[in-house]
Amino acid sequence: MPCVADWLNNPFSIVQGIFAQNVPNSDWEKKVTEYFKEKLKENNATNWVPSLNDVPVHYLKPNSLVKFRCMVQDMFDPEFYMGVYETVDPNTNARVLHFGKYRDVAECGPQQEIDLNSSQTITSERQTFYCVPVPGESTWVKEISFVTELVLSYISASQARVSPSTSYTPSRHKRSYEEDEDMDLHPTKQKEQHMGNNLCCGSEIHGCVEPKRLETEASAGHHLTSPNCSPPLDLNFPLPGEKGPACLVKVYESWDSFKVNDVLEVYGILSVDPVLSIVNNDEREGSALDLMECMDTAEEQRVHSPPASLVPRIHVILAQKLQHINPLLPACLNEESKTFVSNFMSELSPVRAELLGFLTHALLGDSLSAEYLILHLISTVYARRDVLPLGKFTLNLSGCPRNSIFTEHIYRIIQQLVPASHRLQMTIESMNRSRLIPHKDYAANRLVSGVLQLASNTSLVIDETQLEQGQLDTTGVHNVTALGNLITWQKVDYDFSYHQMEFPCNINVLITSEGRSLLPSDCQVHLQPQLIPPNMEEYMNSLLTAVLPSVLNKFRIYLSLLRLLDYSISEEVTKAVEEDFVEMRKSDPESVTADDLHRTLLVARFLSLSAGQTTLSRERWLRAKQLEALRKARLQQQKCVNGNEL
């Protein structure tokens, strides 16, 4: 049996072995998948696999097993490749069979030639996804997943008694282990430094890594090595200022089940063959006459086969869709994780109380707003009834102080709590300038990303307090409409220039504004600060530092976990709700509408869930009504104060 290092560092040898054993049958492919599935099940073996999210590409050994947590940004056309091919030695006429799966280049020895017309050749199909790291992924997600991997791999490494020199991770971990306590608060820069240091020691393992390259690391992402690609390659991240590797993920099985914007975790073989980049340069030089090259424009070439050093390829062996990206939670809620859930549920109410307290402080002592904010943060679209998304709870937090750093800090706090988030500052200029909606670039044949291309359950915080009066141009109107559609229908119409295509999404939108927002929302809460701290900056910072990391982690688990729970309403309570509604309508037909019932039902749903209850009880319903009444009274009051119609 091959040792760990083998399947990790040289998976091709394994594949080759299985291939050679089973060659006449086609089930060798299944066996390969099975083999790796088994391997990854053992002893947290998943943590052994280096992740492209944490480790820069050039530290990773080519053709080794890697993993990548990513979002499908675009899907390229399926490609046909040589699944099995034969090489011929022209001198001896010896024929050898090879497999082409998991490879970009059909290899053959120096003395050999590929027989393109062999009857043994099997053409197979695979699909390429262009994947980017999860947009807006919070730093804590990155750090924690990194650290847990280290810790776990250390444990398993010592258990398995594997010589550390063969493995990459343990050597890296030694330093980080002592520091993982305060890792949370370290900026990423420091982490990279560690990695660099550790990698230097580990470089002999990787062979190809030269210590010198460390210095070039910082600039690697910016300027391209090839002088031919004059403008830098746009890696097409949905959000501006994102970092991290984009990847061409080649999927071999059931690619139909994946959709754009799905979050995946893939395990596969890293391919950074420099040959891939050479092809392009070569082709570009003399694209005039050659038949094959005039098929694609130069832009398309650039996008579809970028240099492998910038956009590595991963040939997927295993891929799974992730329900969430919170590393503190088991990847999926199944039987095994039941104990985890029930343990956490038992201490749910203190966590909720603490979280409420924390948010109340953050919202300057306004506990009602804090309550609504919790409901908002655990909301998720759980079903769609024809076009109507159910379970979205867009919150408009009005009454935010203008031109203060308050909204910024609110975002920082949310960032600390949810796994992925983005802050969108609404100004006339930003609306007119930016392109929120992804659109198809037909010249390059790719989907150019926009801010609204986000993974499910991303928190989008729209800050309207900066918005001034002014003229929106066409783009601006489109953008505002797109935001409106996103909020009301939870869908984004991607622009395919000849037509539009609807992509359903599930994004939690929080709008902070002074008065009522110009965007639609499910629920407006007017902020009533109980205290105005003289120094907002200091106040907010101290708030964050005061929370223990362990408590913060509990908050994070709380918010992610509750989203995944089921919910129902009993017949009895339905009756009661019905009665209630009829009564309310009788007493005040003007102000109580179907919309109110909708909203109250939503509030009741999330209220129950936030307390860990999966059915609606009469008390919760009453509490929901009470909250709604408080909220409305506040709005009413606000209306009177301002004297203008909202």
Partner: protein, 863 residues
């Protein structure tokens, strides 16, 4: 031959020369020289062709498509004594231009030049070459030498029997039930393809489009062969058809020999289903053109000349490469051969990117694309944005990583060599085809739909299946349902009235938050050609069409807007009231004439916009004011309103039972799982198919009884008002009634409009009127609110007030000017009802219209 990588350096050098722009240009022109010239040159070459050229390498001697040096050879060619290298034994050398006596008028199969088919070509040679390396197997059988049993290598195609079968198909195939849009003038009981040949004889377009479906029903095996081995079978077909044709019409003169273009291969319809098994097979896929390349002159045959001894030779393209001869065969000098560009042969080629149509795409995925290569005639036949059905051969070619290294990228490049295009949205491009919709329904589906239509409560069923998440509003849903079905289209062009509109327009107005937008969204998602716009965001240009200058070609391009795009569909316009005046004015034409006229940047045209409009409007005061009329509430011009067949109010009913049901409905939304929801209601897909089927196949006509009932209904409507001296119905209302009745008949899949349909149309129309045209002051339904913008009572009152004012002024005696304020107060004092300033101003305006007075600032001057 199987090591094309061996000539990297030469390839490079050739490229350098090839990219010399002036040369290429002249070559391209040459390649497209007019037919007459081609014929001439052809004649001369053919006579001079005496013996097969002995110098070309053996593989090329075998090559089948060599006989067509004719197409683009330059004029001077006639005087050179270059023999053509072609192989008599190849099946593709049919119609060899050899044995004709000069001087006789050229005609018949012998005289018409063969035109190369690059759409079939490129890969086949690879196969043959391969064969030679493999062994002595004969790849192509010939009829004369090798009997009937032999087949083309690698296939089960026997040329002779295949040809014979196809000829039988052409001569015998009769399809009496087939109806295709081009069948006008075809006798369905005669062999259809023989009639086509006759057409070719008359028109002179040497292409025969063959519907694969016909072939399949005629000879299953031949069809299979065609699909599996198109590049062998199609030339055989060509041969067969030419024999028949020139047999029948020996004097016919064609530009080149007839080429068979099969279409509608049932192998694949969707780009997503393409898989490695389809390689080298005949496929048909549909999609949208997203990009077309410039014209690429592709070298078919290179002409080399020895610099030393002026010996010339020709080399054919092989897998996209030309192997430069390294040694002159005449004088044995090495590297002396140079390419002579303007004596080489080129064919037109174009690269096209096809993207799968939005309808074929599973949700949540991005569209796939595929590259197409169009050759010769098919170049420049499609533009970006066109929806096409493409029939062609699917190809996969390996890519070489680097010419210097022998390793190959393990990925193939795929493309389709186009044989036949058909635009889906324009009538035809190449050839005929049946409606795409016909394809949409399988027999079982049709049966299921028909069964469904027999259910007595189908109308209710469908209407409740429409937007189930929206509660109640049954009548509105029924109205929208009828809109989805539409009336029957009638043509009165001969009597001078043009088309009667068959589309039903609906306006929803009502309080905000009564799920109007949701209904619109639902409809937009339901219909295939729906458009959704918001009145706030759209401009007249966005709705109609605009002319754009393509920056590259300097060509004017007409870009169509929402209304044109939703031709034959539904255009949903939200926030109708927010739309600005100029934008709205566009709708006047669309909503009655169903056309759109554009006069812009030198383009004057009229586009079809046979679209139904479903609009939603909010009241001007954010809340519906029940004391005001519809017009006053939504502030839309009555000219526009009268064009809506149905205007519904979506108001919040205040009633306990309703509240109770609503509450139950909403609560259920919040805990039902998705599967439960689906079970409860009719599937959206079924509804969509049902509607599509009815729209496509059912065109009900008015029955005698129904006509009577309609007449009565109209007369009744007129009567209601006449008692009070006002008109309560106009012909427009009668037309609406007819449309609604027809639509209702369509729901039942009935070809005849019956009393039931009229009854329902009447009921719905009345319901809508009751909601929208009730005069709030009197409580009487008054159609004039919608047709003139004012209720009759309101108009009467204005009249009275004007009279009172006139009397008041006259009673003041002969004063030339009056103070405005003074007059207002006097009038108020005199009147026993409250008079608002608006009413007063209206009265003044009425008098000014009568030339009784003028108002300037604060004074009123008598005339």
């Amino acid at each position: 031959m199987s090591s094309p990588a061996s000539t990297p350096s030469r390839r490079r050098s050739k490229r350098g020369r090839g990219s010399n722009p002036p040369t290429r240009k002249c070559l391209a022109q040459d390649a497209r020289s007019p037919p007459s010239q081609k014929r001439r040159t052809d004649d001369s070459t053919s006579t001079e062709d005496l013996q097969p050229m002995p110098t070309s390498p053996p593989a090329e001697t075998q090559s089948p498509s060599a006989a067509d040096a004719v197409f683009s050879s330059p004029p001077q060619f006639r005087h050179s004594a270059i023999p053509l290298d072609f192989d008599i034994s190849s099946p593709l050398t049919y119609g060899t231009p050899s044995s004709r006596v000069e001087g006789t008028p050229r005609s018949g199969v012998r005289g018409t030049p063969v035109r190369q088919r690059p759409d079939l070509g490129s890969v086949r040679k690879a196969r043959q070459v391969d064969l030679h390396s493999d062994g002595p197997t004969e790849d192509v059988t010939t009829e004369q030498s090798l009997g009937q049993k032999l087949v083309i290598w690698g296939t089960d195609v026997n040329v002779a029997s295949c040809k014979e079968k196809f000829q039988r198909f052409l001569q015998r195939f009769i399809d009496p039930i087939g109806k295709e849009d081009e069948d006008v003038g075809l006798n369905l009981n005669e062999p259809r393809y023989m009639q086509r040949l006759e057409e070719i004889n008359i028109v002179g377009e040497p292409f025969l489009n063959v519907n694969c479906d016909h072939l399949r029903s005629f000879d299953e095996n031949l069809y299979r062969q065609l699909i599996c081995y198109p590049q062998e079978v199609i030339p055989t077909f060509d041969m067969a058809v030419n024999e028949i044709f020139f047999d029948r019409y020996p004097d016919s003169i064609l530009e080149h020999q007839i080429q068979v273009r099969p279409y509608n291969a049932l192998k694949t319809r969707n780009m997503r289903n393409l898989n490695p098994e389809d390689i080298d097979q005949l496929i048909t896929i549909s999609g949208m053109v997203i990009r077309t390349s410039q014209l690429i002159p592709e070298m078919q045959e290179a002409f080399f000349k020895c610099q030393v001894c002026s010996f010339t030779t020709r080399v054919e393209i092989d897998r996209g490469r030309i192997t430069e001869p390294s040694v002159c065969k005449n004088c044995n000098t090495t590297h002396s051969m140079a390419l002579i560009h303007n004596r080489s042969m080129f064919s037109d080629k174009q690269m096209i990117k096809l993207q799968e149509s939005p309808e074929d795409m599973p949700s949540g995925q991005t569209p796939h694309t595929v590259a197409l290569f169009a050759h010769n005639d098919l170049v420049d036949k499609v533009q970006p944005g066109d929806r096409v059905n493409v029939t062609g051969i699917y190809r996969a070619v390996p890519i070489r990583v680097n010419p210097r290294v022998s390793s190959v990228k393990s990925v193939y490049k795929t493309h389709i060599d186009v044989i036949h295009y058909r635009k889906t949205d324009s009538k035809r491009l190449y050839g005929i085809d049946e409606e795409t919709e016909q394809k949409m329904f399988t027999e079982e589906r049709v049966k299921m739909l028909k069964e469904l239509s027999k259910k007595p409560d189908i109308y209710e069923r469908l209407s409740s299946a429409l937007a189930p998440s929206i509660y109640e509003h049954e009548d509105i849903k029924k109205g929208i349902l009828l809109q989805l079905f539409g009336g029957s289209r009638k043509d009165f062009t001969q009597t001078g009235r043009g088309n009667f509109r068959a589309e039903i327009n609906i306006l929803l107005c009502g309080d905000p938050g009564t799920s109007k937008s949701q209904l619109l969204q639902y409809v937009y998602n339901l219909v295939p050609r729906g458009q959704y716009t918001s009145g706030r965001g759209s401009s007249a240009v966005g709705l109609t069409a605009y002319v754009m200058k393509d920056p590259e070609t300097r060509q004017l391009v007409l870009q169509t807007g929402a209304l044109v795009l939703s031709d034959n569909g539904i255009c949903c316009i939200d926030e109708f009231d927010k739309m600005n005046e100029s934008t709205r004015s566009v709708l006047h034409e669309v909503m009655e004439q169903q056309t759109l006229s554009i006069a812009k940047a030198g383009i004057i045209c009229q586009l079809n916009a046979r679209t139904s409009i479903l609009a939603a409007a909010n009241p001007i005061e954010s809340q519906w004011n029940p004391k005001k009329t519809t017009i006053e509430n939504i502030q839309l011009p009555h000219t526009l309103l009268s064009r809506f067949d149905l205007i519904f109010l979506m108001l919040d009913p205040r009633d306990e039972a309703y509240d109770r049901r609503l509450a139950r409905h909403l609560v259920s939304l919040y805990y039902h799982s998705e599967e439960q929801m689906e079970e409860e209601y009719m599937d959206m897909a079924v509804l969509r198919d049902y509607i599509a089927y009815a729209r496509g196949y059912v065109a009900p006509r008015l029955g005698e009884e129904a006509s009577q009932a309609l007449i009565e209904a109209y007369v009744d409507m007129r009567k209601i008002g006449s008692g009070r001296g006002m008109v309560s119905a106009y012909p427009r209302q009668l037309e609406s009634l007819i449309r609604l009745a027809e639509a209702h008949a369509k729901v039942r899949f009935s070809e005849k409009v019956e009393i039931v349909d009229v009854e329902e149309a009447k009921r719905l129309h009345r319901e809508a009127l009751k909601q929208s045209a009730t005069d709030p002051r009197t409580g009487i339904v008054d159609i004039s609110i919608l047709t003139t913008g004012m209720s009759a009572t309101a108009r009467k009152r204005r009249e009275e007030l004007a009279q009172a004012l006139r009397k008041l002024i006259q009673s003041k005696g002969k004063t030339p000017t009056l103070k405005y304020q003074q007059l207002f107060e006097d009038l108020r004092a005199q009147s026993d009802t409250a008079i608002t300033k608006e009413m007063f101003e209206e009265a003044l305006r009425a008098l000014a219209d009568d030339d009784f007075l003028t108002v300037t600032g604060k004074t009123v001057r008598l005339l």
